[in-house]
Symmetry: C2
DNA sequence: TATTGTTATACTCTATAACTATA
DNA sequence: TATAGTTATAGAGTATAACAATA
């Protein structure tokens, strides 16, 4: 093959063509994967985190309201809640006013996990940004924030997990 | 909906706790999703892209070598190659020297798609970075590059697609 | 015996739609 | 009839391990 005189050592030319958007996706996926790794020590998975946070922020919410905010179909919430309920982090309480729906509440254990999650989050933050000084971290946050706003991203929601990627 | 005391207007307090790492994952996932959307017009999916690029860069590679570089199991490459072969973008040619393996080559159509992919990539880049001026884009690229290097990420490889996220 | 690629199998994740129980 | 939640089903994606052909 005469078209590739340099089989593997031209990393410079391999790296340059990739733009900022690719780098963003790559580093973002890495950050998400490392986060998943870290929280696995708490016995939870990324899919649990958003749900737990929503319940912590607004205890007593219904599954429907969670589904709507997450942008997923209600039947999926069933499995999600089953998951965290099985782990003893959340309980379903019948709403006495309208016995069709449940109120979702954190258990004591669930609250404990949420507290630990904040510690894990800080450690994760420090890990991912280890290459940057304080000034650079603020810069990065500002740039990302600008993109997020301009792209119309919802502040707390990570859409990555329900994307088909087909 | 009889919502909680502060249904949605405490976005500030919802946004702040999320650190730079979360923002990175969120924006990165968004960039990946938008990219997937764009290339779907070319009839390819993100999983195809890395493979096509590797074959374009080093025509004639074997499935094994691709599997190794991608960090996935060889049996998965079978389905991946089946995919792009079915689309008429890649062909398997028996290696006459060692008939156990295949040489992977782009077809004419495959080359055409790769060319269009570069255009799509530029448009995508412009879209994602629309909020930033040239100076800021360079800044962002530099910061991300620093993180990527420090975290030991392989330049051309996007690990996000094979992560279980459990 | 080792290597390249393939197939068989099983498991997870997810969406759709039918179903139940309450209203 | 409408709504909250559930279950049944089917389809995609993926990993593991057994397998065939070739070396």
């Amino acid at each position: 093959m005469s078209e590739q005189p340099l089989p593997g050592h031209d990393e410079r030319s391999l790296r340059r063509p990739r733009g900022t958007a690719f780098l963003l996706a790559q580093v973002g996926a890495h950050a998400a994967a490392r986060f998943a790794e870290r929280i696995s020590e708490l016995g939870v998975i990324p899919a649990d985190v958003g749900l737990l946070r929503m319940i912590a922020t607004q205890p007593g919410r219904s599954q429907q309201s969670v589904a709507e905010e997450m942008g997923v179909v209600p039947s999926r919430i069933v499995a999600l809640v089953d998951n965290v309920e099985r782990k003893g982090l959340v309980e379903r309480r019948r709403n006495p006013q309208d016995r069709r729906n449940y109120e979702l509440h954190l258990t004591a254990e669930g609250s404990r996990v949420m507290t630990q999650m904040r510690r894990v989050g800080s450690a994760h933050e420090a890990d991912i940004c280890a290459a940057l000084d304080d000034n650079q971290r603020a810069q990065l946050a500002g740039l990302l924030e600008a993109i997020a706003v301009q792209q119309g991203l919802t502040p707390g929601i990570h859409p990555g997990y329900q994307q088909p990627l087909r």
